[in-house]
Structures are given as structure tokens and as C-alpha cells.
């Protein structure tokens, strides 16, 4: 089979990329999705708060993805469900598996990677010994409760204050469970402030910073955990241990981009984001393969996923039509002084429409800072932020004119005290 554009993953990223590629004149599009339905992880995110930026209203996860599924259907964009992509090579040949016809191959004119992310589990519990049942990731619990209608426990402790953990603290409370506490090993939360207010404070659920689980009790089913305070090196402080009775421990310790396929295609992966290195059009290091959404870097707001995916869809369309400039001028971006990473990592100003929205994350909580953009030691742009935190992605728009006038091939993003 030959297709102009193949999109891997039918979550919000894949759907938005498909719609935008279609809007840019590409009709031969195929979305491959391994699940029974389109919508990705948003199907299980039944809470509201999605879409404020894109639609100006607060939607639930399924409502947000339904808007894009509707568009995909209206535009007659083709998709295959229950279809798992097994491999991609650098010449854009895709191998996939579907229960009906077995393994098949597609030669694609362009590819958009939109496989999302998965939950971290490893390293969250450095505790020897057996694992009783009742320990699961917050995302798995979210799926059980919201999609299967199955309550996973009655007395709950949550390890990690990531957004999914916070959302699940409220969800389990509403369904009658007693959520005893949320433990965060760091001195700050990686969750959105909004979620701390509406999921914990509203229900009087305590959040303990600098705390972790040091022991697990119970043979078949979890019976309790020992929690302890940690020092500045994240080592448990002797004498601070406390026993907490619980039958469920939810892990909410972060997400990691899903890039097995990308690695197989020889795509350059950033050691910091764990996602592909991308340019202004969301093209990866392999020509004609684009990427967007959580597969590139973990987003906390789906609205930004959508924005980024529009770029990927448009970039892929331009590539197919031969309109993507390959000029030699490439600016590399770099984070310094508290800025952990910047996406996109490479910019060719010729391919920028009006401006580039740079996304970045900081490595700690800082108050009263400037995010400064520098080239050759000169300040290109400076924006003030009252507070920045690793849990909330920052973004800065830079106009094409400014990018065109940069002579040096490096653009440095740096934090500076105000």
C-alpha cells in the first residue's frame, strides 16, 4: 500500500495533525490507532479543564477529543482502529498489525508520529520485597474507574503529585474512597496549581512535600505503607517514619514519551525530553517524519498539544508538496541557567509563517525572573515571570523578522533574576 500521509496515533495530537494536513491540501491521509476508539488518553480524562486556549471554554477530555473526531469524520479522513504499528524505517516504510488482515506494509510520502506518552513506574518505589496487589499507576486507576466502572480501592495513598495523581485523588474521593494523603518527594509539586486547589484543597486531602514511601506492608493485598520525610538529597530521615493504613497506593511520578518506534527509524532523540529533536515544522532528524504532542515532550495542557500538532500537519503537507525549504540557515536552540529544555530545537526561519512558539521547562521553582533569549551574547527578547515551576510549561513567541535577523546559529534561553 502507498499513502501520501500516515499518522501514527489517534489521540488529540494525531487528530489535529490530520485535520491541519487536510486543510493544507492533502487528501490521502491514513490514521493508524491501536485502540478500539479514537481520542487517545483523553477518553479516560473525564474531568473538565480542557480547551480554554483553543475553544475558550472548559471541556472534559472526551468532549475535547470528540470535536476533532467529528472534524476527521466530516473531512472523510480515513482511519484504522485496532491497528498497531510495529516498525518504521528511515525511508518511511511502516509495518503494522491488524487482527483482520494480519501484518501489512505502507510506503508513506510523509509520516506524523503521535504516539503520546506512558507512565513512569520504574524507580518510583526503591523498596525490596514482594508486591501485594493494590499498587498501580494513577493512569491505570483512571482507566479502571472511568472506563471500566471498577473502583480500585477504599483507603488510598498517592505517591507523587503529578496531575493524574491529583485528579485521581478527587475522583476516588467522589466515588466514596478515603484518600489519606498525597506524598511528594520534592519540595514542590509538578502538578498544576489549579489541580492542587480543586482536587486536594477542596476535599481537605493533605499534600506532604519532602515525603516518600519507604516500606510496603501486606502479603496478598496491600495493608499499609510506611511514609517518611526526606532530606535535601531525597534520602529518608531516620525517626520520621509513620505507618499509614491503606489498601491502595497510586503512583503518579511522571510521564515519558513513547519512542520505541522513533528509535527504530533512527530518529535523533533528545536526552532531556526523551522525545525526537524537532524543527520549526515539527520535522524530526529523519526527512519526512514529523512528530507532535506527548511523543515529543510531555505537555500539561492539551491545548498546546493541538497547537503543536497543527504545525506538524502543516509541515507534513508542505513536505509532501515540496514546499518545505531546506535552506542551510539553521538556528539551534538551547536552554541554560535553569531552563531544562527548549522545543523546537532547530529553526529554519524560511519555514516560519509569522512566529515560532518556543516551549520550555525549568528545573526548579524560581520567583521573579526574566526568561531571556540571547544570541551571540545579545538579548533578543526578555519576558518577566512572577513565578516559574517545573510543573508548568512556559512558552515564548518570537517573530519571524527577529529570527531572520539572527546571524549567529545559536539561540539561548536563560533565566535571570529580575
Amino acid at each position: 500500500m502507498k499513502r501520501e500521509l500516515v499518522i501514527i496515533g489517534g489521540g488529540p495530537a494525531g487528530l489535529a495533525a490530520a485535520v491541519e494536513a487536510h486543510n493544507n491540501g492533502i487528501n490521502d491521509i491514513l490514521i493508524l490507532e491501536r485502540d478500539k476508539n479514537l481520542g487517545g488518553i483523553l477518553q479516560q480524562c473525564i474531568h473538565n479543564g480542557f480547551g480554554l486556549h483553543i475553544f475558550g471554554e472548559q471541556l472534559t477530555g472526551p468532549e475535547y477529543s470528540e470535536r476533532f473526531i467529528k472534524k476527521v469524520n466530516e473531512l472523510n479522513i480515513e482511519y484504522m482502529l485496532d491497528t498497531m504499528v510495529l516498525n518504521i524505517d528511515s525511508s518511511r516504510k511502516i509495518t503494522a498489525l491488524t487482527p483482520k488482515t494480519g501484518v501489512f506494509e505502507i510506503e508513506a510520502g510523509a509520516v506524523v508520529l503521535a504516539m503520546g506518552c506512558r507512565e513512569r513506574t520504574r524507580g518510583a518505589l526503591n523498596i525490596p520485597g514482594s508486591r501485594p496487589s493494590g499498587i498501580l499507576t494513577a493512569g491505570a486507576a483512571q482507566r479502571f474507574v472511568n472506563m471500566e466502572g471498577y473502583m480500585v480501592g477504599k483507603k488510598v495513598v498517592i505517591l507523587g503529585s503529578g496531575d493524574i495523581g491529583l485528579i485521581m485523588a478527587r475522583r476516588m474521593t467522589l466515588e466514596g474512597a478515603e484518600v489519606k494523603m498525597v506524598l511528594e518527594i520534592m519540595p514542590y509539586s509538578t502538578g498544576l496549581k489549579r489541580n492542587i486547589a480543586q482536587c486536594l484543597v477542596d476535599y481537605d486531602i493533605p499534600l506532604y512535600f519532602n515525603h516518600t514511601v519507604v516500606n510496603i506492608h501486606g502479603k496478598n493485598r496491600l495493608e499499609g505503607v510506611t511514609v517518611a520525610e526526606v532530606d535535601e538529597y531525597r534520602k529518608p530521615i531516620a525517626g520520621t517514619e509513620k505507618y499509614v493504613e491503606c489498601d491502595t497506593l497510586l503512583l503518579s511520578v511522571g510521564l515519558i514519551p513513547e519512542n520505541e518506534l522513533s528509535k527504530g527509524a533512527g530518529i535523533e532523540i533528545s536526552g532531556i525530553t526523551s522525545g525526537p529533536v524537532v524543527d520549526e515544522s515539527m520535522q524530526t532528524s529523519v526527512e519526512g517524519i514529523f512528530a507532535c504532542g506527548n511523543v515529543v515532550h510531555v505537555h500539561d495542557l492539551v491545548d498546546f498539544v493541538t497547537q503543536e500538532s497543527y504545525l506538524a500537519g502543516k509541515g507534513a503537507a508542505k513536505f509532501i508538496k515540496g514546499e518545505l525549504s531546506k535552506s542551510k540557515k539553521v538556528i539551534s536552540t538551547l536552554g541554560e541557567n535553569g531552563i531544562r529544555y527548549v522545543v523546537p530545537q532547530k529553526i529554519n526561519p524560511d519555514n516560519v509563517d509569522d512566529s515560532v512558539n518556543f516551549f520550555m521547562r525549568v528545573d526548579n521553582v524560581y520567583k521573579n525572573v526574566f526568561i531571556e533569549v540571547l544570541s551571540e551574547g545579545k538579548t533578543v527578547l526578555k519576558v518577566k515571570r512572577p513565578v516559574v515551576s517545573p510543573g508548568e510549561m512556559e512558552n515564548i513567541k518570537i517573530k519571524r523578522e527577529i529570527l531572520e535577523n539572527i546571524n549567529f546559529n545559536k539561540l539561548i534561553f536563560s533565566l535571570k533574576e529580575a
Binding site: I46, L192, R194
Partner: protein
């Protein structure tokens, strides 16, 4: 005089708001825009929330379907509304936007489906 500290949740800025009540006069500091002030006053006088959950479905592809209160309801009614939601079972097919409970607990707010479920 009473002081309350909350976080504004109306946009990702999440401004820390300090609300002071003195002789029925409410003053707010920390908000970067007017929305924050309005929110602070509402939180002190009549806090409201959207409730999202699921209801059981008969004969659908999925055992449950996602729902929400179409508008915000008083915060103090959250658990009572949850009780009403948990009494309900609906029949497939379910379409996004279908009314699941009309005027729940006389709040003038409907509970509606936020996802689809086909007949199995």
C-alpha cells in the same frame, strides 16, 4: 477581620489570592486580573464547581459513560449530586450532550453525557 488564602484557578497563572473580610467588606490582593477578584469573592460567598463522573450504561459497548453537570453547582452539594448520579443507569445508545438527570436537586442544572456509547 478574617484572612483567607486561596489560589486562583481561572487561568494557568494560578495567582495566589489573599482575601480579607472586614465588616462585610471583602478585599482581594494578589490577583493579576479582574477575573481573579471575582473568583475570590465567589469562593468566599458562594463557591461553585462542575462535577464530572460516570454513570452505568445498560447494553452499551462500555459499562459506564462519562457525564458532567452542565453548569457549576454549589460546592456544598457536590456529594449530594454524586449520590443522585450514582442512582442512575441509562440505556445505550448514549450521545454526547444527552440529558442524564434534569435539574439535579433543583439546582437548575442538568447532568449531561460527555461521551458516546454505542449499542453492543
Amino acid at each position: 477581620m478574617s484572612k483567607t488564602n486561596i489560589t486562583c484557578i481561572n487561568c494557568p497563572m494560578g495567582c495566589p489570592l489573599e482575601i480579607t473580610m472586614e465588616n462585610d467588606i471583602i478585599s482581594v490582593i494578589g490577583n493579576k486580573c479582574n477575573k481573579g477578584k471575582e473568583y475570590a469573592i465567589r469562593e468566599i460567598t458562594n463557591p461553585t464547581r462542575i462535577v464530572t463522573s460516570t454513570v452505568k450504561v445498560n447494553g452499551g459497548e462500555r459499562p459506564v459513560v462519562a457525564i458532567k453537570t452542565q453548569d457549576e453547582i454549589p460546592k456544598k452539594l457536590i456529594f449530594d449530586v454524586m449520590k443522585e448520579i450514582n442512582k442512575v443507569t441509562i440505556n445505550a445508545p448514549v450521545n454526547l450532550g444527552d440529558i442524564v438527570i434534569e435539574n439535579v436537586l433543583n439546582t437548575n442544572v442538568n447532568v449531561i453525557a460527555t461521551a458516546n456509547d454505542k449499542v453492543k
